[in-house]
Symmetry: C2
Subunit: 254 residues, 2 copies
Amino acid sequence: MISHPRSEYRQTADVIRRRIESGDYSRGHTLPREDLLAAELGVNRATVNRALRILAAEGLVQATRGKGTEVTRLSPIERAVPFRYSHQARHRDDGRGAFDAEVAARGMTPHSEVTVSRASPPGTVTAVFGADPGAAVAVVRSRRMYADDVPVQLADSYIPLDIAGGTALETGDTGPGGMLSRLADLGHAQVRMSERVTTRPPFPDEAEFLNLTGDHRVYAITHVGWDAAGLAVEVCMHVMPAHLWVLEYSWPVD
Amino acid sequence: MISHPRSEYRQTADVIRRRIESGDYSRGHTLPREDLLAAELGVNRATVNRALRILAAEGLVQATRGKGTEVTRLSPIERAVPFRYSHQARHRDDGRGAFDAEVAARGMTPHSEVTVSRASPPGTVTAVFGADPGAAVAVVRSRRMYADDVPVQLADSYIPLDIAGGTALETGDTGPGGMLSRLADLGHAQVRMSERVTTRPPFPDEAEFLNLTGDHRVYAITHVGWDAAGLAVEVCMHVMPAHLWVLEYSWPVD
DNA sequence: GAGTGGTCTAGACCACAGA
DNA sequence: CTGTGGTCTAGACCACTCG
């Protein structure tokens, strides 16, 4: 099944996209009503609606029932890995995490909320912890992150209870150097990390928090940190709108 | 704009998805015609069509005008980085590249076609080569890759002409150890690599080759290799259907 | 209550696959 | 030529925002 570039709704999307990119409709501006656009472009409103769905899925606009369709293009945020976990980054500015620096680098104001609890990790996470009996229950650090008050990421960190229980990892603020340093203090310095990147539609709760539709895609990243003993000491599930992020990986050869 | 899970077309998609996952409709099987599904489920054909679009975008089915809608779920292929560029992987089996191993690991048969030419690289690539005057023209190695004859990846490698011109890099087969080893032979051993991962709808030519629609997403990965002198010696643009691949990155801490 | 997008239906016609 | 999905239209009603 091939993309048919000639269909009217695609052409309509192209017209509107060009108007946005040329500045006819600028950031924060509300587009004309769908029926007016339809009349102007000589197509049915359903066609305009379908065209706007494409642009919404690309993150160019955001439609709200009852209000209108607003231009929302944000320049994507860069997430540099493994730099964000490096010693250098951790001590760049104590107390601020990698996320804060990433958002600030884009000229936006970061903000995040942390919730700490204890729970049984989901299956994907227990699979990583393996047979470790101390990980049947984990300390969960859930973060909701914003850039200029726009929600841009969800992250749930799981640390086995027998490692994190009753430690500074169960407090809201993990202090200088963050979780990585606290785990090191506890004798679980991480020597190796991995990330598994996938893309999928958002789950309903994710869609609600991140303000997405089923047409959007999120990066679902499973981040794992291992200590010198080969034990998985932290698993973190990141979920972020794919159109808002660029992932940068860098490594030495061999 | 929130995902409204109650809309009929989403529920219809859920019903059909469940039938696929439960095996009612199995891999390679053709679904009932849209009008029959519509009649069975008590909705309009347009609703079924919209539901099938969702499943197609997820890579679960593939619709072909004139033929029908087929179940096509493939288990995703794992691309392990930086392992695929490591000395170990390069010598695992001489003559077979990382892609071949990745596909074989999924029990499928890899196949690829290479075209070698000379051309001016696109802007995104020249930006990486920077002011390097020897890179105004580059040797381009274009690969089209298949798993069980299904197209699964496009990759265009650019090497500055003053490095690759007239060398083994302009031949179809780069020999044992591949391009990396040939570049090393030429005095440009790579010491550092980076990848920049983004997600977007496919371009028309990509959609045609990879059999995608505008609802699909591809990973667009810019891979760069630097030699000891800090010169970018190879830039490769990978394009692959996002639902067919999982990206695995791994690195030592600090 | 008015404004605006989200969804659904019925009907029609087109484009492409395949006999 | 027939089968099947892709798209478009006209019209309708619903759901949510905001004054």
